[in-house]
């Protein structure tokens, strides 16, 4: 048997990574979609135009499915802090537990108290309260994102803590912990990325209906709103939020930046590799095609800035999987750039009134929706692989955090359980969402029923 098979820390990491990656497929859509619902409910209030309520009604159902899967896959995340990361919880529970609990009490309570009313309660609530329910759910979903990102930001860039007499971490400054600069930048970047996912999905459904010649009014609404928000959000993901995020990594985790860029050797005039494969054994980037000076400029502001390479850091502080980190980061950047180009072109065609007659473009928009999910996942892989070998950067090693009482085989067993369960859950989700999309927003019976009572 090889050693990785008997390494409980590895399997606990894999299980956490797998369950978190799957979980986050759902909240990223709800966080993005929530503001579309608010916007449409608001337009319906202002204009009285039924098409906005129809749109909100249709997307609320898809929101509801996402929300449900998000809830049930989210609970295992919190529990794993105890089951698989017991020593991490012992060390840092007093700090990171605060925001985990605050997420529950300030965000989930709000979201879950109103989500049922948002999805099904239009008749009972009336238009004004139904709009408020949409706002409450949107706020709840973004607040939960903030609390989780404060938790993650503490692991990336610990601030406001103090080491206690018993060897655990305590809180020295509440405000420093809650208003960690890392958390704000990461939150801005992450929420824009969630909007990218939400808007791409809205645009894709619009493109699908438009290509099919179905639900013409709704299709136009989705296409226009989707491509417009997608363009803005794609731009904001890159600049300023992504740019700030990279600068922060450069300042606080320089070894991570070097690994992300595959820079084995330091120097001025550092380039960004457009293409290239890191060869860790030989400590070089194979077949690189670089934009000269770009990394110096992006990370530190001038083309001449000195950017350190991996060789200037002790090898035991290197992220433990440089290749995966490099590919994740670079593919994320590539996809992000492609999103801007696609949505800029779509917005241009829309401005010229050609969006709904451009077959190729509508096909592209329809098929583009999986890629923001991939880009979001790659972004998180970059953040978390880049943090290695630390669980809390500079304070606590990942190796020291896992549950010593849980054997690797036990974790493999539960990991396989999750893989099986989530596979079925994913199929079920796709089947039901596909069915809702096939049913479409123009369900006369439902719309008449709701509007008759709401009036």
């Amino acid at each position: 048997m090889n050693s990785a098979f008997n390494d409980p820390a590895f399997w606990s990491r894999l299980q956490f990574g797998f369950t978190l990656t799957f979980h986050y497929l759902f909240p990223q859509l709800t966080m993005g979609l929530a503001w579309f619902l608010v916007f449409w409910k608001w337009r319906a209030l202002r204009t009285g135009d039924k098409k906005y309520n129809q749109a909100a009604r249709f997307w609320a159902k898809i929101f509801g499915l996402n929300f449900a899967v998000g809830v049930v896959t989210g609970i295992p995340m919190e529990f794993q802090f105890g089951t698989n990361w017991a020593d991490f919880s012992r060390f840092a529970g007093g700090v990171i537990g605060q925001t985990l609990a605050m997420e529950g009490m300030f965000a989930f309570f709000l979201e879950s108290a109103f989500v049922g009313a948002l999805i099904w309660g239009e008749r009972r609530l009336g238009p004004r309260y139904h709009f408020i329910a949409a706002v409450a759910v949107a706020l709840g979903s973004w607040l939960s994102g903030y609390f989780i990102l404060v938790t993650n930001a503490f692991m990336q860039h610990p601030v406001g803590y103090e080491l206690q007499a018993d060897g655990s971490l305590g809180i020295a400054s509440f405000s420093a912990y809650l208003l960690n600069r890392w958390a704000w930048v990461e939150f801005a970047h992450n929420q824009m990325a969630a909007l990218v996912t939400g808007s791409f999905v809205v645009a894709a459904v619009g493109a699908f209906y438009s290509l099919r010649g179905l639900h013409t009014v709704q299709a136009r609404l989705y296409l226009r709103a989707g491509t417009f928000v997608a363009l803005i959000a794609s731009l904001l993901v890159a600049f300023p939020t992504g740019d700030q995020q990279a600068k922060m990594v450069g300042n606080h985790q320089p070894v991570t930046l070097a690994a992300m860029e595959g820079r084995f050797h330091g120097g001025r005039d550092a380039g960004v590799a457009m293409i290239g494969e890191p060869n860790v054994a030989a400590q070089r980037l194979d077949n690189p095609i670089e934009v000269p000076g770009a990394l110096s400029f992006l990370a530190y502001g001038t083309f001449q800035s000195y950017v350190r390479g991996l060789d200037q850091f002790p090898q035991d502080t290197w992220p433990d999987n440089i290749e995966l980190l490099y590919y994740s980061f670079h593919l994320m950047i590539t996809l992000g750039s492609a999103f801007i180009i696609l949505m800029a072109y779509a917005s241009f065609r829309n401005w010229r009134g050609r969006l709904e007659s451009d077959t190729l473009l509508r096909w592209a928009l329809m098929l583009a929706f999986p890629f923001p999910y991939i880009a979001n996942t790659l972004g998180w892989m970059t953040a978390e692989l880049g943090r290695q070998p630390w669980l809390i950067y500079g304070l606590f090693h990942t190796r020291d955090g896992y549950s010593k009482m849980v054997s690797s085989g036990t974790t493999i067993f539960t990991l396989i359980g999750f893989v099986g369960l989530y596979f079925v859950l994913g199929l079920l989700f796709l089947f039901l969402v596909g069915r809702e999309i096939a049913n479409g927003p123009d369900q006369e019976a439902v719309n008449q029923l709701v509007e008759a009572r709401a009036a």
């Binding site: 802090f81 105890g82 007093g94 605060q98 009490m105 879950s112 036990t410």
Partner: protein, 348 residues
């Protein structure tokens, strides 16, 4: 400070059990009602609020990490497989409720109703087993760690397993109690055939709860002879016992006079009273060691450092105030009996 947090943690867990207990109980009753139409009515009674009930577990779990991190670490790692069974049951329960309403088809809904019944039954049994384990203790070693099998020799001392004669009987008690609680809830929230059927179930289930409660009390005395001597000086224990008495009277009088709201109130406070008594009885030990009393984890030994406890005491009351506000909103929005046409995961 640590006592305050012990009380808060217990309150959060109790709130979760009260709220999700409705789902477990109604879920088990769902397996007993006759027609598909009636099953829709039971689902409607749980309706759009299951996630609101379930997030109390998230609030509890997060608070546990924040204020008793060492307990979370020991207990969750030690109960590893049992906890994943709970997690998977929660996933199946939520999914079955959510997707069942999406397709109006007998086979589809029949299948998901079945999953719903089984997962709720499992949850009631698993949480009951967990309660039994908390009372009996686990084989904690000198480092505050343990790992245990699903069952060993079914005895309650030494290297115990998750299941033994005591924890199994507590689980049985919990399942019957939760079914009774769920039936009482359904009596309040439904009308017609389900209402009448739930009346009957509630009657028999509450009658069954009484001897089981006496049995579990006697058993607890046998399993933990050390408890009464210490707990008798704890005023909260007496508060719990008083609550049990008053709520039992409320429940019985509510049932006999067909005041459904009163009966349900009694049912809720009976649960609060039972859990309060249990929580007060074991305090300050949070996890008892069956190997040696010195290995036990007390609230004082597992609490986070004072700075963490102080910080949490700032935001927690704000969170609670908001939760109460949502609770008022929910009570007003969803007051009264449900009707299948209106609340069955359809637009209402």
């Amino acid at each position: 400070m640590i006592e305050t947090w012990y009380i808060i943690i217990c309150l959060m867990l109790i709130t979760y059990v009260l709220l999700d207990g409705r789902n477990w109980g109604a879920g088990m009753i769902l397996g007993l009602v006759a027609t598909a139409q009636e099953r829709r009515q039971v689902i409607a009674a749980i309706g759009p609020l299951w996630s609101w009930h379930e997030v109390w577990l998230v609030g509890f779990g997060g608070t546990l990490v924040a204020v008793f991190p060492k307990l979370m670490a020991s207990a969750f790692a030690g109960y590893y497989l049992a906890l994943f069974l709970i997690l998977w049951s929660l996933i199946l329960r939520g999914v079955s409720l959510e997707v069942g309403g999406h397709i109006n088809d007998r086979m589809w809904q029949g299948f998901w109703d079945f999953v719903f019944v089984v997962s709720n039954f499992l949850l009631a049994i698993l949480f009951g087993t967990a309660a039994g384990n908390l009372a009996r203790g686990v084989p904690l070693d000198g480092h505050g760690d343990f790992s245990m099998a699903f069952f060993s020799d079914f005895r309650v001392r030494g290297y115990v397993g998750l299941l033994d004669w005591y924890t199994v009987s507590v689980a049985l008690f919990a399942a019957v109690l939760m079914a009774a609680h769920g039936a009482t809830y359904l009596v309040l929230k439904t009308e017609g055939a389900v209402h009448d059927r739930s009346e009957t179930f509630a009657k028999y289930l509450w009658v069954a709860v009484a001897p089981l409660l006496i049995m579990v009390t006697v058993e607890s005395r046998v399993v933990r002879p050390d408890l009464p001597g210490r707990a008798i000086h704890n005023p909260v224990l007496w508060l719990g016992l008083l609550m049990i008495t008053v709520s039992t009277i409320t429940l019985v009088s509510g049932r006999l006079s067909h005041r459904e709201g009163r009966a349900f109130l009694g049912s809720n406070f009976l649960l609060v009273g039972l859990l309060t008594t249990g929580g007060a009885a074991i305090f300050p030990v949070m996890l008892h060691s069956t190997l040696s009393p010195e290995n036990s984890l007390t609230a004082y030994s597992v609490a986070a450092n004072p700075s963490a406890l102080r910080f949490a005491l700032i935001w927690w009351p704000m969170g609670l105030a908001l939760a109460v506000a949502y609770f008022v909103f929910i009570s007003r929005q969803y007051a009264g009996k449900v009707s299948v046409n209106r609340d069955n995961q359809g637009f209402y």
